[in-house]
Amino acid sequence: MERLLRNRWALVLALALVLAALPLVFPSNYYFRVAALVNIFALAAIGLNLLMGYAGQVSLGHAGFMGIGAYAVAIGASRFGLNGAVAMLAGAAIAGLLAFLVGRPILRLKGHYLAVATLGLGLLISMALTNEAGWTGGPDGMAVPRLELFGTRLRGPDTWYMITAGALVLGVILALNLIESPTGRAMRAIHDSEIAARVVGVDVAAYKLKIFVISAVYASIAGSLMAFLNGHITPDGTAGFLRSVELVTMVVLGGLGSVLGAIVGAAMLVILPQALTIFHEYEHLLLGLIIMASMILLPRGVIPSLLARLRGGGA
């Protein structure tokens, strides 16, 4: 079992099978939409988890990169006539470039100082999206033209479920490969002890920057996919501070340093608000309680804690 867990291809295969099987049991487009949102947030959370769980660097402004991806496809298609797919890549490039430029000074900061710096970065992005209404439509947001590929306009939650599921599987494969690569080992070394890593000759700053850029690109792609799925985006909905907090919560709830955990965390925070509507005005209260209880009972996050328990019980 231990060995199977370590086999990343088994995880990828299982994930792909589940994602492929789910449409068979989905009764309506609503389920496709919710599942597509899970895929999208899982993608962003996986990227953030690389940064938080492996490199040990927190970001409280990651939704800012989602916002860049979302607005890149909206502005790229409507103002520059770019094909949506091209605009999505351009957005990822812009997000990556921004992360590269601000990453070096910001990542010199540690712990909570890094948190407040990234928070500021996210705030600056969402503020620009809100205030530069000439480009972005302001706080009420802007429409996103439908993505057209090979002459077909992609629409409908079922189509977007398939696309986001594909993107998620791809994102998982890339993340797992990265974790198993020398970069991944260097990252874990940085997480355990930055000084020790530096002493044995790891270029700490360069690795941190690399992961920061990669996680920004993940968030940007997720943002673009969300824009395509929704057809209309707003600054608060894509890049707001609360969205950033939500991403961090997904990562930590699901389990730092666990790719599967990021997916579970995303699923929890997307599905819970839908499930809790039956409690009407008590839904927020319950959401808060569930987050607290889950973190107290499964302190390392859902997946790592459950795995540890299974391992302990099964051995």
């Binding site: 299982a14 706080p139 209309h232 699923a267 499930a275 459950l306």
Partner: protein
Amino acid sequence: MSMHTGMTRRLALAAGFGAMMAAAPALAQGEIKLGAVLSVTGPASFLGDPEKRTLEMEVEALNAQGGLLGRKVRLIVYDDAGDANAARTFATRLLEEDKVTAMIGGSTTGTTLAMVPAFEDAQVPFISLAGAIQIIQPVKKWVFKTPHTDTMACEKIFEDMKKRGTTKIGMISGTDGFGKSMRDQCVGVAGKYGIEILHEESYGPRDTDMTPQLTNIKNKAGVQAVINPGFGQGPAIVTRNYRQLGITVPLYQSHGVASKQFIDLAGPAAEGVRLPAAALLVADKLPDNDPQKKVVVQYTADYTKKTGQPVSTFGGHAYDGFHIWKQAVERAKTDNPAKVRDEIEKTKGYVGTGGVVNMSPTDHMGLDLSAFRMLEIRNGDWTLVQ
């Protein structure tokens, strides 16, 4: 292990979806299902909360009288907390799971615009409760709205200024959707009334002190009046800061100041503030021959009794949306979405809290400037400006 991990995920999803299935009601035959996605919590809760209470109150009253076309009306409300993404998900849920035949809601312009594509695709009528003109211009076949547009509020204010010989003004607006949208509209139509905006400032939706911005406006030579497009607690704080700084030129608030609560919050500072507002706010002061008198007095009495809170025009928008829909269903003699849509579009002479509504295929709101009254706050109460 792969089986285990797969199962965990499937179980998590199944548990979540299971709970949703439980939430989705069994199809009850004969009920008419009305959906509402409102910002009941979050930054726009002072819109969504009275809207929700109003819809619940009206549906309850209607069902107590035997329902609509002899069928009970079931209201399904979801809270989007002001998040456009959540609004879109709930819109899909109303359409796909709850199978509503009409929807009243969208408390803010942002959430409304996010939901429009869903209702256009599903071909289900959607009566929005948000302000901005983009919602109905260009006309969207399935989308209507009940509140006045912010352009109309600007025009009403500028009309009043023109009457008083005011030509040079300052403006301080909120950076939220409401303030920003109205600010843009005011800038757009100012020229038409020969009004020049000398200085502009803005504030964040949650700011607690606007004296720096107002100091700049105060120090701008030649400003004869100030407009404050905004809603929520912002206008109350602007009004307090305005008096604190001792600015003496007239202060115009907008229709975003939509409830008696503004006077309570702003206190004595509210004295002399002018604003365009729906007749609802001055129900007791309307002359008896005013066509709106009966409906606004009735709604005010009902709402105050039911909730113990003062009425706001936001709740009034929901009231109007509900009755426009209800009358359309009665005329169509069915809740078939396409037929109800056609009847909503034919709404003529509906007297509501917001004004007299005359819709047409090119006008999915149906209100004109006469729907707004110019009010001034005197002795802690509204008075009609003639």
